[in-house]
Each structure stands twice: as structure tokens, then as C-alpha cells.
């Protein structure tokens, strides 16, 4: 392996600069995302490092197994490239093109230098393509990992944004739940409501589920736990917005929602105000008192 | 670490808390596993005649977890399912602790031989 590799390697070493120039030129041609000087500088640097590592790792190692320790610096470089590209919004293919685009100038170089020896040319070309394929695939996998991490983070942020707790009045919080509730989201919701109870000193929390299409056992259990936890802390909950279908489901599932519930948030707010000793008065008719 | 006295129970809580923080647990996650640890640690002292606790912080790919292993050479538990099921009706019994600790954990394993001792392993993952 080492013997036969070294011919191609020697050639890469001998013609490093021109090969690099050709490769960079090709990448720029393929580049569809505009000519951003900062990105171009980065790409040039990555390419230079890639060729360097390619020679170094192949020379140092006895095999072209890119998962071995000799190839660690190369893998690190490809990790950096993938991460950068993933964050910049490139596709997986565009990221792997970084590696695959080297084939054209490299084979051109091999053909020029080894053209007179077709067997050797074929062998070197085959070895080179195999190695570059492996490196290209590694790049795609590294890209995937980064993308997944980004998506995970975005999901987390979305979850946090979509669970707002509002203070309707002094001492009265409202949590309007919207959309389908899954276990993870309900837990976050639970925790943020309880946290707000502490920071606001609110004694009543209205949990409105008008915007929740279905309630299954798991969600109901989470709601019950939230209500119990709030009680332990010294606050009370009122459930509002239970639609007839949900009421049926709850009865059907045999669940006991041990909490006061009102049909609408308005009713719940009215109850909450009464409980906290407040009354709403219609000032145009001072003789009467609204409740 | 040894779990032989009620001071050890406090120390065990603090040690588990430290490891849970190191594993990146959220506050709620920490509280759950420390509370579970407190329950089993107490059982180990009160019913197991004292024993030991081993705390491991584990990593399985992207998942991280904390595993606790409590070992004692006490009288053991004759009927484990009974002990786990004993809800809040048993006064001062082990039931409260065992069942509760299980509810607070993702993993829970208990082996006990009457006359030989008990091993309880519980784990929580994020």
C-alpha cells in the first residue's frame, strides 16, 4: 500500500502549488453562494490544509484507513469544514463537494504525469478515488452531526418561545396553551409556570387549554401534576377552555381533574378576581356592582 | 462512600448533587435524583444496617446519566413487590422510600436476599 501510494503522493508534493491553484479555481467556479471575500479566504485556507494533511497522513500511516490515529488531524480539519459549512447554511452535498472537487484536478495531474504508464495510472487513480471518497463521506457525516445539533438547539428555543406565561393582573397568572402538547413541552411549560409563580408571587394561575386540540392521558397527568405542584407551593390553579370533546375524553379515560375549571378564560379571570378580593365595577352605572 | 449514619445520608445527598451537576443535569433533574438517593440511603442506614454507595457519571453517546449503587449486608427484603407497592399507608416503612425512588428514576433495579443483604441500583438519564 505504502509503496504504490507514494507515487501519487510524491506527485502531489511536487506539484502542490499548481494543484492547489487548480482546485481552488474549480471550487470557486462551483461556488453558487456568491463571492464573499471572507469565505473565499477560509476556503483557500481549508484547501491548503487539506492537501497538507493528505500528504502528511498518508505518509505517516501504513494504511488508508481514515479512522486510524494517523488520520486524526485530517478528521479534525474535515470536522471544522463541515461545522463551518453547516452553520453557513450549505447543503450536505455542497459541503462534501469540498473533498470531491479535488478529484478533477488531481486526476488531471496524474494523467499528465503517469500517462505513459496506463497500469500505474489506473492503480493510482483508483487508490486516490477510494481515499477521497472515504474522506468525502466522512465530511457528510460530520455535517449531519452538526446539523442535528443546530436543529436540536432551534427546537429548544422554539419550545421556550411558545410557552409564555402572562400576568393578567396583580397576583393572577395565565398560561394559554396552544397546539399539541407532548411530554417534553408540557414539562417545560410546567416548570416555567411554577417559576413564574415564585417570581411574581401570584396566588392564582389560569391554565387555558382552548388552543389544545386533544388531551390524552399523559397530557392530563402532566396537567394534574402541575396543579398539585402549584398547590404545594401555595398557589391555586383554574383550568379554562375545556371544550366538550375534551371533557368527554377526560370522562372516558376515567381521569379525575381535581381542579376548578371554567368554560372560558373570561370566566376563569372573573373567578380569580373574586378570589383575590377584587371586584369590577361598571362606572357608568355606579349604583350597580359588577362581579 | 459509606452510608452508615444519618450524617452519611446528608453527605450522600451532597455527593450525588455534585455529580448530577457535573453531568449537566437541570435543577429539576438534580432534585429528583438527589431525593431518590436520599430515600435509598435512608433505607440502607435504617433497615440495612449501613452500607455503601457508589456514584457513577456515565456517558452513552450523546446521553449522559448518573447511576447510584447502594449495597448493604442487612437482613434483606423478603417480599420486594410488597415493599415497592406499600404506598403511603405503611407508617415509617420502607415502602414510601423504595416506590418513590423508583418513580423518580429512569432505571431502577433491586435484588435482595433475606439474611444476606440488598443491592439497589438507580439511574437517571438526560
Amino acid at each position: 500500500m505504502v509503496e504504490t501510494q507514494s507515487v501519487a503522493l510524491a506527485l502531489i508534493g511536487k506539484h502542490n502549488d499548481s494543484l492547489l491553484a487548480d482546485w481552488i479555481g474549480l471550487q470557486q467556479q462551483v461556488e453558487t453562494r456568491g463571492v464573499d471575500p471572507a469565505r473565499r479566504t477560509q476556503m483557500v485556507e481549508y484547501s491548503r490544509q487539506f492537501l497538507h494533511e493528505l500528504r502528511r497522513s498518508a505518509e505517516a500511516g501504513q494504511s488508508d484507513d481514515i479512522t486510524g490515529p494517523d488520520w486524526a488531524p485530517m478528521r479534525e480539519l474535515l470536522d471544522s469544514v463541515s461545522q463551518a459549512r453547516a452553520t453557513q447554511g450549505y447543503s450536505a452535498g455542497a459541503t462534501a463537494t469540498f473533498v470531491f472537487s479535488l478529484k478533477e484536478p488531481l486526476f488531471e495531474l496524474l494523467r499528465r504525469e503517469l500517462g505513459r504508464n496506463p497500469d500505474q495510472l489506473a492503480e493510482q487513480t483508483w487508490n486516490a478515488t477510494r481515499l477521497l471518497d472515504r474522506l468525502g463521506l466522512y465530511t457528510v457525516e460530520a455535517y449531519q452531526t452538526t446539523r442535528e445539533a443546530i436543529i436540536g438547539r432551534q427546537q429548544q428555543e422554539l419550545l421556550e418561545l411558545s410557552t409564555p406565561v402572562v400576568e393578567l393582573w396583580e397576583g393572577i397568572l395565565a398560561l394559554p396553551l396552544i397546539g399539541t402538547l407532548d411530554s417534553a413541552r408540557t414539562q417545560i411549560v410546567m416548570e416555567s409556570l411554577l417559576q413564574r409563580i415564585v417570581t411574581s408571587g401570584a396566588e392564582i394561575a389560569i391554565i387555558d387549554i382552548t388552543g389544545v386540540p386533544t388531551v390524552d392521558t399523559l397530557v392530563a397527568q402532566h396537567l394534574i401534576k402541575t396543579v398539585s405542584a402549584a398547590r404545594l407551593m401555595g398557589a391555586d390553579c383554574i383550568l379554562s377552555g375545556i371544550r366538550p370533546q375534551i371533557a368527554q375524553t377526560i370522562v372516558h379515560l376515567g381521569l379525575e381533574l381535581n381542579v376548578v375549571s371554567k368554560a372560558t378564560m373570561a370566566d376563569a379571570l372573573g373567578l380569580a378576581l373574586r378570589r383575590t378580593g377584587k371586584a369590577i365595577v361598571d362606572r357608568s352605572r355606579p349604583a350597580e356592582q359588577g362581579s | 462512600m459509606p452510608v452508615r449514619s444519618s450524617d452519611d445520608v446528608v453527605r450522600a445527598r451532597q455527593a450525588v448533587r455534585k455529580h448530577a451537576i457535573a453531568a449537566g443535569f437541570s435543577l429539576v433533574e438534580q432534585t429528583k435524583i438527589v431525593t431518590a438517593a436520599s430515600e435509598i440511603a435512608r433505607n440502607t442506614v435504617d433497615h440495612g444496617g449501613g452500607g455503601t454507595l457508589r456514584i457513577e457519571v456515565l456517558r452513552e453517546g450523546p446521553r449522559r446519566g448518573v447511576r447510584l449503587t447502594f449495597v448493604d449486608q442487612g437482613p434483606g427484603i423478603a417480599d420486594i413487590s410488597q415493599a415497592l407497592a406499600d404506598g403511603y399507608t405503611s407508617a415509617g416503612g420502607m415502602g414510601l422510600g423504595l416506590g418513590g425512588a423508583r418513580r423518580l428514576s429512569n432505571e431502577f433495579e433491586i435484588t435482595s436476599t433475606p439474611g444476606r443483604g440488598t443491592v439497589v441500583t438507580l439511574g437517571r438519564w438526560i
Partner: protein
């Protein structure tokens, strides 16, 4: 070992648990409180657990016991300041605090006790946990 101090405000006893309690300390507190309720003829007991980062079944039972004993002695028990993560864990643990009323903080807790004493209500008539 240490002791947990019990303060008296008018006809109420105020306990603020600041330390990570081991079991003996919890039992000592139980006994001390019961004794003080009688000695001081207290009508209300306020237990501030805002510094506790953990309430397990033992401490939970301690709170229940204190509430039960004080009820026998015609006093109201209110627990204040439970932290959210502690509340969540306690619910998961499955421990019910029976006969224990709760409030968000000391101020509201004292108001609650005042209200209960003035109205001469029995503590278990209203909101159960």
C-alpha cells in the same frame, strides 16, 4: 448537631429551616415544635422551607406529623416557600401533604394563619393538598 431555632411572633411560631437536615434533626424539630405550641399557647405554626432544596419522604412525613399534632393542639400549620423543583419532585414522589396548608411566602403564610384563626375555622376544612 445544631438546633433549628423557633421564633415566636404574637401567637404564632415561626420556623425557618436553613440547613440540610438529617433525620435526627428533623425529629428533634418535631418534638421541639410540639412542646413550644403548648408552652407558648400558639395558635399558628409557620414553617419556612424556602431554603430547602430537597424534601424527601421523611421530611414530608415530618411536616404531616407537625400538622397533625398542631391540629390536635388547636393550632394551624402553614408551610411556605416550597421551591418549584422541590414541588415537582414531591408530586412525582407521590407524597401527599395532608392537613398542611401552603402559601408562597412568610407574609402570605402569616395572613393565612391570621385568617384561619380569626374565622375560627378548623384547618382541614378548606383547601386540601
Amino acid at each position: 448537631m445544631g438546633e433549628i431555632p423557633i421564633l415566636r411572633i404574637a401567637d404564632c411560631l415561626l420556623v425557618s429551616i436553613q440547613v440540610d437536615m438529617h433525620d435526627q434533626l428533623a425529629l428533634a424539630l418535631q418534638d421541639d415544635l410540639t412542646r413550644r405550641i403548648v408552652e407558648d399557647r400558639a395558635r399558628g405554626v409557620l414553617i419556612d422551607i424556602s431554603a430547602l432544596d430537597l424534601v424527601d419522604s421523611f421530611i414530608g412525613r415530618m411536616l404531616n406529623n407537625i400538622a397533625a399534632m398542631s391540629r390536635v393542639l388547636d393550632a394551624v400549620t402553614v408551610v411556605v416557600g416550597m421551591r418549584p423543583e422541590v414541588a415537582i419532585t414531591l408530586v412525582e414522589l407521590g407524597l401527599a401533604l395532608t392537613g398542611v396548608r401552603t402559601a408562597l411566602n412568610v407574609d402570605k403564610g402569616l395572613a393565612l394563619i391570621r385568617g384561619a384563626i380569626d374565622a375560627n375555622q378548623r384547618p382541614d376544612a378548606r383547601r386540601k393538598i
